[in-house]
Amino acid sequence: MKRRSLFAASLSLSLAMMAVGTAHAQPANSKVLRFVPHANLTVLDPIWTTAYVTRNHAYMIYDTLFTEDAKGQIKPQMVESYQVSKDEKTWTFKLRSGLEFHDGKPVTSEDVVASLKRWASRDAMGGVLATFVTGYETPDANTFKLILNQPCGIVLDAFGKASSNVPFIMPARIAATPGTEQIKEHIGSGPFVFKADEFKPGALVVYTKNAKYKSRPEAPSAMAGGRPVNFDRVEWVIIRDTQTQFNALKAGEVDIIEQPSFEQMDALKKTEGVRVENFAPAGLQFIMRFNHLHAPFNNPKIRQAAMVAMGQQAYINTQVGVPELGRLCRSMFPCGTTYSDEDTGYFTGVANPAKAKQMLAEAGYDGTPVTLMRPTDLASIAKLPLVAQQQLQAAGFKVDFQQMDWATLLARRAKKDAPAQGGWNIFLTAWTAGDITNPLSMAMLNAKGQNGWFGWQDEPRLEYLKGRFARTTEVAEKKKIASEIQRVAFETATHAPLGQYISPAAVRSNVTGMLITPGVPLLWNMKKN
C-alpha cells in the first residue's frame, strides 16, 4: 500500500512538473519569431557561397544598394539618388545619410566600393559588369562613382539582383577579404543583428532587432521599401526532419516553416491554427542539363531529340505531387517574369517519344549510353532523374543510370572526362526563379566552352547576344534580345526547362505580414498576435 502511495505521489509530482513546464513553454512571445529555414545554415558568407540559406541569412543582417519591388522593378534601397552622365559612362550614386553598421560605424562609400569589388569577383553578373568597369571613385563618404568603358544596361539589374550572389554591403575591412576566403565577422547595416555568441551551428541562429536601422519611408513592397521590424528577437530553429517540423508548428513551438514537404501540404491545410502561404509566386524551375563535350550530346540534333522526349507534367506530378503547386512553362526564363517567352519552337514541354525516336534516327544515334546522374540524398530533386530515365528510354535512348549522393554528383559534374571514364551526360537540378530571370545570371546560358558552366557549351552566338543584352539600356530592346537568346538556346539545346513549381511556407495563423518576394523569405514587416 505504501509503495503504491509513493508511486502515485511520484507520478502526480511528475505530471505537475510537466504541466508547469508546459505552462512556461506554451504562451508564444509576440516579440520572438521562430522560423525553420529550408536548410541548415553552415556558411555565413553570402559572397563565398551561392547557397540560398546563406543568402536568406544575409538579407537579415545586410543591406543592399538597390533591390526589387513587387513589380519586379529595381528600386533604390541604401541609395538616396543616382545620376547617369550624358555619355552613360559615369554613374554617380549618393547614399542615404545616417546609415550605420551594427558595430556603430557609419556606412561609407569606401565600404560600398570594397563590397562591390568582392561581390564582382565571385558573382557571374558581377563579373560581366566588371568587364565594363574602369574604376570606382569616392568623392566623399556618401558618394561613389562608377566609371565605365562603355554604356552598360545592367548596372541597376546587377546592383539590385535579388538572388545569389547578392551585392550585400559590408564594412570595407571585412570586404577586403578575398572572395575565395570566408569572412570571419558578420556585421551589416540591415534590420537585424546577428548574434554570433548565440549561434549554434545545426541548431539555432539568433538575430536581434537593429534598433538603429534606418528604414526607408516607403511602404514595404517585396524586397524594396521600408523594413519595419516588429520582433525583438528572431530565432532560426534548425529542424531537419519534416515530420518534426510539422509537429513543432502544430504545437506552436515554431511560427513558420519556410519549405514544408509537398507530402504535408494536405495535412497542413487541414491543421487548425496553421495556414499555407505562397510568398514566392514565381517559384522554382526544374531543368535538365546536357554535357556538350561528349557523345551522344555533342550532337545538337540528339540534344533536341532528348528535349522532345521530355514531358514537364510527369516531372511536376512525380517530384511535386500537388497539382496546384506545379505549372507547365516552356520558357527558359520562368513564366511570370520579365523575359519569359513561350515561343519555343520545337520544344513543347509535352513528351513526344515517337517524334523523338524519329529525330534520333535522323541524327544517327548509335546507341551510345547516356550517363544520367541521380542524387539520392537530395529529396527536392531526387525523383527527377527517375522520370528522365523513363522518358529517355521511351524515346530510344540507352540509359546508364548512376545513383550517388549530392556531394559526389557535384564533384562528378565538374569532370570533363568521357562518361565511361568518370564523366557524365545529364544531370537535373532546380533553380529559384530569381536566379534565372535574366540571360546574364542564368548559368545554363554560359556558353564559353571549357571555361563555362558544367556542360561546357561552346556557342559564340549566345555570348555575343549576351554582350548585346548587357550593353543595351532600353527595356523593350532587352526583351527582344532575351527572346533571341532563348531562340538560340533552344536551337542549340543548352538545357531543357522541365516545369515550374512553387514551394509555399507554412505559417501559424497568428503571424501576419509575410511579403511576396522572388523567393527570399523576409522576416521584417511580419507581426505575431
Binding site: 541548431a203 550517388m404 557535384l410
Partner: protein, 317 residues
C-alpha cells in the same frame, strides 16, 4: 595493475594512428569534392579549382596527411571547411547533448532493464518473463523513428506535456536549468531506452538465470538467506560482468551518434554533426570526430575492463 593501465593506454596510440590514416585515405579517395559542394550551383571549374587551393586540397595526399597529423599533435584538429570554426569548438558544442542523451538513456534503461531481467530470470516462464520476451522483440524490431513519432504524438501533441523538439543546455552561459534540460530529453530518452531496455533485460535475464543454477546459490538458499538477498547479492552480482559489458558497448554506440533520434527530436548532437560532415565532405570535421569516437571507444573499453576487477575479484590483470 599499473602496468596493465600503461600497456592499454600505450596500445591506444597505434590504434589511433591506423584509424586516422585509414579514415584520411578513405575520405580522400572516395568520390565527392568539398570544393565542388562549397562552390555551389553557379560555379565553374575555375571557381572549384580556386577553392581547392584555398582549402589545401590541391596538395598531395601524404602532404595533406602530414600537415594534419602535425597539427593534431599540437592539439589542433583544424577548421571546418564550411563553418570556418575550429573543429574542437564544433565538437565541444555537440558533446553535451550527446552525453546527455547517452547517459540518460543508459541510466533509464538500467533502472528498468536490470530489475526486469532479474525478476524474469527468477520467475522464468512466468508472465513477466513472457512479457519481457514480447517487449524485447518489439524493442528490437520497431524502428526508433516510429517509437519517436508515437511518443511525440501522445506526449507532445495530444497531452501537451512535453516539447516536440529541441535541446536546452544545462551548462554554459545559455543554460536553461535542470528541469528545462530534462523536459527536452524525456522523450528522446524514452525512445532510445526501448532498445536498450530490451537488450540489457535479455542479457540480465540470461546471466542471472545462469547464475541461479550455480552451486553457491543452492548453498546460499540452504543457509536460509532471503530470496531477495540471494537474487541481489549472489545471482545479480555474479551476473554483472556481461551486463556491464553490454552497457559499455551501449554507451560507446550512443556516443558514436544516434542520428535518427537526434533528427526526430532536433537535438544537435555528434550524430547529426557526423552526417552533415559526411554529406558535405567536411574532411577536418569527419577526421576530428573519428578520432574522438576512437578515443572514447578505447576509454570505455578500458573502464569496462577495469570494472571487472571490482565486480569479479577472481579477475586479475
Amino acid at each position: 595493475m599499473l602496468q596493465f593501465l600503461l600497456r592499454r593506454i600505450l596500445a591506444v596510440l597505434p590504434v589511433l594512428f591506423v584509424v586516422s590514416l585509414v579514415v584520411f585515405l578513405i575520405l580522400r579517395l572516395a568520390p565527392g569534392d568539398p570544393a565542388a559542394v562549397i562552390a555551389g550551383n553557379s560555379a565553374t571549374n575555375e571557381d572549384i579549382a580556386k577553392i581547392q587551393v584555398q582549402l589545401g586540397l590541391d596538395r598531395s595526399i601524404p602532404v595533406q596527411y602530414g600537415i594534419w597529423m602535425g597539427n593534431v599533435f599540437q592539439g589542433d584538429l583544424g577548421f571546418s571547411y564550411y563553418l570556418n570554426k575550429p573543429v574542437t569548438e564544433l565538437i565541444a558544442q555537440r558533446v553535451e547533448p550527446t552525453l546527455s542523451l547517452a547517459f540518460g538513456t543508459v541510466i533509464l534503461a538500467l533502472l528498468i532493464a536490470v530489475p526486469l531481467g532479474t525478476v524474469a530470470a527468477w520467475r522464468m516462464g512466468g508472465w513477466l518473463d513472457r512479457l519481457l520476451s514480447g517487449f524485447s522483440v518489439a524493442g528490437f524490431s520497431v524502428p526508433v523513428f516510429v517509437i519517436g513519432y508515437l511518443l511525440i504524438y501522445l506526449f507532445a501533441i495530444r497531452l501537451e506535456w512535453l516539447p516536440v523538439q529541441g535541446y536546452k543546455s544545462i551548462s554554459g552561459p545559455s543554460a536553461a536549468g535542470p528541469w528545462a534540460w530534462m523536459r527536452q530529453l524525456i522523450l528522446p530518452w524514452m525512445t532510445l531506452a526501448m532498445i536498450y531496455v530490451a537488450l540489457i533485460a535479455r542479457v540480465t535475464r540470461a546471466s542471472v538465470s545462469e547464475a541461479l543454477t550455480e552451486d553457491y546459490i543452492r548453498t546460499a538458499r540452504a543457509k536460509g538467506i532471503s530470496e531477495t538477498a540471494v537474487l541481489l547479492r549472489h545471482a545479480l552480482a555474479n551476473a554483472a560482468v556481461p551486463i556491464v559489458t553490454v552497457v559499455g558497448i551501449g554507451i560507446a554506440l550512443l556516443i558514436g551518434g544516434v542520428v535518427v533520434t537526434e533528427t526526430v527530436y532536433a537535438i544537435p548532437g555528434l550524430g547529426s554533426l557526423t552526417v552533415d560532415a559526411v554529406l558535405n565532405r567536411d574532411f577536418p570535421v569527419i577526421q576530428g570526430l573519428v578520432l574522438l569516437f576512437s578515443v572514447s571507444y578505447v576509454l570505455i573499453n578500458l573502464l569496462v575492463d577495469l570494472s571487472y576487477l571490482v565486480l569479479d575479484p577472481r579477475i586479475r590483470y
